[in-house]
């Protein structure tokens, strides 16, 4: 029987499992639902296989090596570290890699990285939105001058990625950027960082937390009586447990998001009915439709839509990695299409082009009301004008440092 094989590099174990499990469930369940409901995509079932990485780069590479031979269509490493290792390998093996909203920001430059996709946004887009949102609160970008903005982050590739952009913005808008790195080992032991924050009294805090780092940070923020409405997390710090760790007192904590909030979507209803209630998933019903779960769903939506697109573009039903790349690179997920698949308004419409693999799509801010996340802003556009040149420069630098970096040989699909 023909299938389209989609390996999912997930982690349900290790220090970051707290975040990883929800993502893994969301990714798995949507694809499983398509298999149940529609018999796959275009009549071909999706073969889903999870490979456990434990957020560990070595194991991630091992997963990649052990699955790529099975005609893998696309990889989602869910770790910036693993992404970095796989970028060169995937480029050589000609298998696209979708790092949705994480990974190497520069990979958005499709001409340099034809095989890597990071729709809907890069970290730099995210960081610029955070600054923009702060400016909005203060009443305009010019009001940022003289403000102090703290940046607390997981001290790894993931958390360091936004720093160049933040520094750029800080010089541009004249605010002071103070960095608070949290070593991976000390994730659950952040009292020093928050003491420093207390002393420095930044006006706002931007947070790039993951795994157990986020709930600990939220708790510490509450403890040190940092004004919670001035703490803004990246979309990966937007988990329900993350905020719940602070309980009532964390009311006002904000985080960016680009995937739907809540379970009020037809497709999610199908998942619940056909997959979860049917006992075909590991999802704990209480965590269904949580922020990170929905994030996982969106990841699979992009995969599924890319498969469909590729099937249309190539006329094949059973695809290869190369076909998949075509599907991803000409992906156009419109509002209509989202509605059609039962996920109206679940995400902002996104379009991938040859040049731009990220799209720089708008994101919104959600706020914790003490019990739940609530949407707290409209879609905010990132500062593409600042981000794009930086991306170009970074891509160029990457190619130079890794010379001889192969030039793009893949034709643009349209």
């Amino acid at each position: 029987e023909d299938t389209n094989y989609v390996p999912l590099l997930t982690y349900r174990t290790g220090a970051y499992a707290g975040s990883g499990i929800h993502i893994a469930n969301g990714m798995h369940d949507y694809l499983a639902m398509l298999n149940e409901r529609d018999g796959g995509i275009g009549g071909v079932k999706i073969a889903i296989e999870e490979c456990e990485t434990g957020y560990d780069a070595q194991k991630g590479v091992e997963c990649y090596e052990s699955t790529k031979g099975k005609n893998a269509l696309v990889y989602n490493p869910y770790s910036t570290g693993i992404t970095l290792q796989l970028i060169p390998k995937a480029s050589v093996d000609k298998i696209p890699m979708l790092s949705m909203g994480y990974g190497l920001s520069a990979a958005a430059v499709g001409n340099t990285f034809p095989w890597i996709f990071n729709v809907p946004d890069t970290y730099w887009d995210g960081a610029s939105v955070a600054i923009k949102y702060i400016a909005e609160q203060e009443g305009g970008l010019e009001k940022l001058k003289g403000k102090k903005i703290g940046y607390i982050f997981l001290d790894a590739g993931y958390g360091r990625e936004p720093i160049p952009l933040l520094e750029q913005l800080s010089t541009k808008y004249g605010f002071e950027l103070v960095q608070y790195p949290v070593p991976g080992k000390e994730m659950q032991n952040q009292s020093s960082q928050w003491l420093n924050i207390r002393r420095d009294r930044p006006d706002y805090m931007v947070m790039w937390g993951w795994g157990a780092m986020t709930p600990t940070a939220v708790k510490e923020a509450v403890k040190t009586r940092f004004p919670m409405d001035k703490l803004i997390g990246v979309w990966w710090s937007a988990g329900d447990e993350d905020a719940a760790a602070g309980g009532e007192a964390a009311k006002g904590y904000k985080a960016m998001n680009f995937s739907g909030v809540g379970s009020d979507f037809a497709a999610l209803g199908d998942i619940k009915k056909l997959v979860i209630d049917a006992g075909k998933s590991q999802t704990d019903p209480s965590s269904f439709a949580s922020t990170l779960y929905n994030r996982g769903v969106l990841n699979s939506v992009i995969i599924a839509e890319a498969i469909r697109n590729a099937q249309e573009k190539t006329g094949k039903k059973v695809l290869t990695g190369e076909d998949m790349r075509i599907g991803l690179e000409s992906l156009d997920l419109t509002a209509d299409r989202l509605a059609e698949i039962g996920l109206a308004d679940f995400a902002h419409p996104m379009k991938v082009t040859c040049e731009d693999h990220a799209g720089g799509n708008p994101v919104f801010i959600q706020e914790w009301d003490g019990k739940q996340w609530q949407k707290a802003s409209d879609w905010i556009e990132p500062m593409t004008d600042v981000v794009r040149p930086l991306l170009e420069a970074a891509a160029k630098e990457y190619a130079e440092k890794n010379a001889p970096w192969p030039a793009r040989t893949e034709a643009c699909p349209n």
Binding site: T10, Y11, R12, T13, A24, E49, E50, C51, E52, G54, D56, A57, Q58, V61, E62, E65, S66, G69, T80, G81, L84, Q85, I87, P88, K89, S91, V92, L104, S105, A106, D155, A156, G157, R160, E161, I163, P164, P181, P183, G184, K185, Q282, A394, Y398, K401, N402, A403, P404, P406
Partner: protein
Amino acid sequence: MFYREAGQFKTSYEADQALFPIRQDRIGLAVILLIAFVGIPLTANDFVLTSIMIPFLVFSLSAIGLNILTGFAGQLSLGTGAFMGVGAYAAYKLTSLFPDVNVIVMVLCSGFFSAAIGAVFGLPSLRIKGLYLAVTTLAAQFFLEWCFIRIPWLYNYNASGAIEIPSRDMFGILVTGPEATPLTRYFIVLAITSVIALLMANVLRGRIGRSWMMIRDMDIAAELMGIRPLQTKLLAFAVSSFICGVAGAMMVFFWLSAAEPSSYSIKLSFQILFMVILGGLGSLSGAFMGAAFIWILPVVLKFVPGMLGFDIEAATVEHLTFMIVGALIIFFLIVEPHGFARLWQIGKQKLRVWPFPY
């Protein structure tokens, strides 16, 4: 009776001091080398090469490195990961500073940097012993890890903080970078590992190897017999770190091709320590056996349920793997605290007297 030594007389000290004085062992080694250099390249697929053999060899080499320090010189170290990291970062810096020099030369040179750093952290070993010494090596581990993060010069100011290995060729064949074939990388790693293993086997059976073991077994007596403890220990630290450094550099150059500081974390230190202890402290062949066990077993375990037709979740497999590996470690320690190497010896002993029980 299979393993019969009778009738093999050594007529000179040369013969008696050969690495493998017994014929069966020599044949065994020849077979292993034949498999490694011919058999595996002919049969193995990319997955086996890149995910099993290359890491296995890299780990074997680092296990040899640690074994020299802990198994032979008796200095417990938990800083192996960081020393490997020093090698990796040094090699990376060297290749970017001197892009035209052959990478293999650079990989080997990187060992000198880790040797120097290892010796520095070995200094307290004169006063501090045993488990207490573990803390100085842990200090090395965490401090160096921190350096890898905090000194951007080390990773050429990459935004990601990771080192990425560019493609380099040697005699027209790509040896590093994503386009280098697994086979090429395998051969390089195999060659470096076997050569270093051989050289170390030589050192270990001579005066220097003995002086390490003297320090390990009874440092006071060693000192009263003319061994200078500081020099000897520092040499062990340096040699061990050199080898670990080369292994660390190989790890990123020929296996991972990109590495973050977390690749050289304490977890790696423990992994290597496991290999050394399970393989057998103070045994070179044990280093290989330990590496095989610790690295290959979990990889293989992952496929077992699938092969048996069970449909178990990936995470559950991972949990089970953890439990099984943990239990097996304890099991093997109980069966033979001196590791696989000793187990193998006892096995030989049994073969010798077979079919009688003793």
